[in-house]
């Protein structure tokens, strides 16, 4: 089984979010970048398939040369090889279009994406990619097993879970649950050393229509200070929630 894991290079979850250049760009100054957490859960599951079922794992990222440290981390965790599509990821459609080319060129059986990235939270790429390729698609995936050419999947639904089956080739949008937090791997020294010698191929992008563009960014309005209520005066809390906030 050939697996392609699509990874985004995103600000660490604790990063301060600021904008620059007249609020038209995300300010990367002082920001640590990581593998998008939803993608890392999927990558870890892919490494499990490699170890248990002999899968071959390729990671791919659409981004500039500055994302290579993030890609090397994925190799250090255990991916066999990597591809970087050398382009600024302008929107979900553009990224999906690039990834579709990578999938066609590499004839992958299983494409694992995160259900959304933690920067733009678009949740677009996995569904667009699957549709462009005509592959089966399961989103919000919290479990996957593969037996021959059939996958059994669990996806989250509002208020519960659903078990599905689908034949390969398949695209999934994964999230926490596909593996648990405790299953995530911190690269060891040997992994880091080997990652340096693994192939990281750079591909040039193909042209894609521009369908959306980010015009500007805004920060939320500053929040007014918390109203403190004495623990001896819970009636006041109920009064405020009922009459002021009007939520009960």
């Amino acid at each position: 089984m050939k697996i392609l894991v699509c990874i985004s290079h995103v600000p660490d979850t604790t990063a301060k979010i600021n904008f620059t250049n007249g609020d038209t760009e995300f300010d990367t100054n002082g920001v640590q970048f990581v593998i998008n957490p939803n993608d890392e859960f999927g990558l870890t599951r892919a490494i499990w398939f490699k170890e248990k079922q002999g899968a071959h794992v390729t990671v791919v990222n659409v981004g500039g040369a500055d994302t290579e440290a993030t890609i090397r981390k994925a190799l250090a965790i255990g991916a066999d090889e990597a591809i970087r599509v050398n382009a600024n990821p302008t929107d979900g459609f553009f990224v999906a279009k690039q990834l579709a080319e990578v999938v066609k060129a590499g004839s992958y059986d299983l494409v694992i994406c995160g259900k959304e990235s933690l920067d733009y939270n678009g949740g677009m790429v996995p569904g667009m990619l699957a549709t462009m390729l005509g592959f089966n698609f399961v989103n919000s995936c919290v479990g996957i097993e593969v037996d021959g050419s059939t996958a059994t999947l669990i996806r989250e639904i509002d208020g519960g879970k659903e078990t599905l089956t689908a034949n390969l080739p398949l695209v999934i949008g994964g999230q926490k649950g596909i593996v648990e937090e405790k299953d995530l791997r911190i690269p060891n020294m040997r992994g880091i050393m080997t990652a340096r010698t693994k192939a990281l191929n750079v591909m040039e992008p193909i042209a894609a229509d521009v369908k959306t563009k980010a015009v500007k960014f805004e920060k939320p309005a500053p929040k007014s200070a918390v109203k403190l209520i004495s623990p001896d005066n819970l009636d006041e809390l109920i009064n405020l929630l009922h009459n002021e906030a009007k939520v009960i």
Partner: protein, 321 residues
Amino acid sequence: MSVLIYTEFAEGKFKKVALELASYAKKVAESLGTTVTAVTINAGDVSELGKYGVDKVLKVTDAKLDKFNAKAYADVVKQAAQKESANVVILSSTTDSLFLAPVVAVGLEAGYASNVVALPVSTNPFQVKRNAFSSKGFNVTEVTSDVKVLALAKNSFGLVETSGAAAAEDFAVSLNDADFNVVVQSQEKASGQVSIADAEVVVSGGRGLKGPENWGMIEELASVLGAATACSKPVSDLDWRPHSEHVGQTGKPVAANLYIAVGISGAIQHIAGINASKVKVVINTDPEAPFFKVADYGIVGDAFQIVPELISKLKAFKANN
């Protein structure tokens, strides 16, 4: 060239987010000088949609569509959009609609903007404001394609009633066998509980509660308020509560009217996941807990004394209101 919406119907009624979607679409349609058409799948009585601004309903009825299937549902939405020559297609942000939207967008060769939180900033050019960076920022996106697909963030617009009535007609769609290659084998849904996704009020517990045996009062507070229960990441990591209750940046997002955090300090990842909630209440012994910086109302004190007292006072309040 109407505005088309897909309105989800479950357990005998339209979901609240579907009515919110209709309310939103009506305003968008007004600014474009057009009308709203809703497409429904195996829905019963659709008259309620008229009250929220829908002018026309296309009713699709097909036993093959009893369970959600992204490809087949996308075919339905696409064919409805083509029938209505819709330039703007808007979906809600339920798990199913977010699964569907990018499939629809590619099918219609449309640009897609998700997490839309307000009416378009402008309709020409077509620009919308979207949540980004886990609610730590907004992104104004211009959709430049002819057909535009939007997903409206939950609880971002509210319900607006009108005096209108919707004309309903049956709509036959052509479905492909290949649409059904992903097969649902079984579903597991907790019955009798409010799900975090649908809840208007969420009561959430953190490590300050000291152990799973102390969750009785959280469940009781939730039950008094008709709320869903949730928990912080450490609590689910410790297996005090099921993973499905974990809310935060890597857990479930919460966009409730009221979020009550009990014994949760408020790590930045937790706040990112719940920040879209309208009103936040924190109960914590530590006045320095970061949650107090983002909460609307706070009580510094011992949850083991406050929560039981709050439950009895709320019961009395509910009995009189």
